[in-house]
Amino acid sequence: MGSRFLDNRGLEPPDPMIRTLEALEGMAPGEVLVIHNDRVPVYLLPQLADAGAEYQVEELPDGSARVRITKGA
């Protein structure tokens, strides 16, 4: 299963959230989306859980965050 990458850095809220959810909508269950945001997207994470997606957050030394999202069934 391949993965996709979205660089959301430099975008103002709510654009990172919308880009991420839009991208997820077009993906198949099990596919992986990795996003790179300026910060941990705290308003996105509960919505990912609601959508049945699994995620893993990695905070980077510069304060930005990468989130690996696996789309649920």
């Binding site: 391949g2 993965s3 996709r4 990458f5 979205l6 660089d7 959301n8 103002e12 809220p13 709510p14 654009d15 959230m17 919308i18 880009r19 959810l21 839009e22 991208a23 990795v34 300026d38 910060r39 941990v40 705290v42 308003y43 994470l45 509960p46 919505q47 990912l48 859980a49 609601d50 699994e54 995620y55 893993q56 957050v57 990695e58 905070e59 304060g63 965050a65 990468r66 690996r68 696996t70």
Partner: protein, 431 residues
Amino acid sequence: MLPRAGAKGAPPALPIAALLAGAAALLAGAGWLAFAPRALLGAVNAPSLVGLTHVFTLGFVGLVFAGTLQQLPAVMLVTDLAWPRLGLVALPLLLAGAGSVVAGFAAGFAPLPLALGGAVVSLAWLLLLAQLVATALRRWPKDAAGQALVASVAFLALTVVLGFALAGARSAPGVAAALGYPVRLHLTTGMFGAFLLGIAGAGQKLLGMFALAKGTAQWRLRLLGLLVALALLAEALAAFARLPLGPRPQLLLAAAAALQLLEVRAILRVRLRRRLEPPIRRYVLAHAFLPAAGLLALAGLPAAAAAAFLVGFVGLAVSGMLVKILSFLTWTARFAGGAGVSAGAPLLRDLFRGELEPVTTWALAGGAASLSATLALRQPALAPLAAGLLLLGSASQLAQAVHVVVAALRPVRSAAPPPAAALATTEEAGG
């Protein structure tokens, strides 16, 4: 374990406690009104009505704003909150000061609690303003919403300081001689500078996030902020320099309110999420009270117009966002570990009791409408109706807020081992 909500911001308990205290303050105010509904039929500057107004503004709206400021700036300004534990000092000061101010009004403009409470609330809001400015200085907002948020908190602090000056003018002739009684400036700065601008700025981001709307224009919010600032400058010149400006400030404020209506309409037109969640529908419904307040003002009914603006527009908008923000805050603080969502965690929507949302919305909306009608028509029969509906709506709102927190705090099943997959990408799809 990131990203717990408080990892680089305020401890999550701070905003959560402030939001709950704000909801409790509204219930307390509604309970007071239900106990003495005839307060609505007396003079608008009578101690009980002024006290009730400050339960609403300093207690409900002030505490919700203050709690939100412990979390939202980091999201809106995309940086870490400065002095993340400052709220441990500022929020108790705000609560104690607001209580003292309200007690001062309730006791018939008692000078000591008013002066003491005014000083404490002013200090609390100046601390919160300093925290927000220090946060913004880390990454100064280029967008209109971030700038509006900073400006609105500055106006809120100014409103409170003006209120403190008013309390001083009541008891010290020297203060009165120097400043006069800038009541109108105090009201206008609070209603439009703090509340309208704050709701417009935070609302552009929050409504955009919750309705999934992108690409809204910046010019409306910038122009709205400019109109509010010009109107308040004109009001200040009228208050302190005695300049005869006629209705110009009010026209500027009416134009600013109209821009907020257009802004919400524009956001909703480009949203991806067609069916809005109940708290967001309450936020949108709040805007119906803006034209109603304008019409009441045009009809020469300023008290009814102020009630429609404050309880209808501000009250419903703040109530909608309170419930929504509280659910995100508690869920994220409790379940959103760095390795993923905790096993057994409820869904965000499971934190809500669905049956309470329409009760909150329609009781608060009906309460605001009947409150305005009571003040406009001076009908004694309407006062208990207004008080009863507001009591019902605020009780329902508090029950929902408590349920959200309790549901998030319930024990969950034992955590599953975290996913071990490393971050790896094989295909670039965005830039």
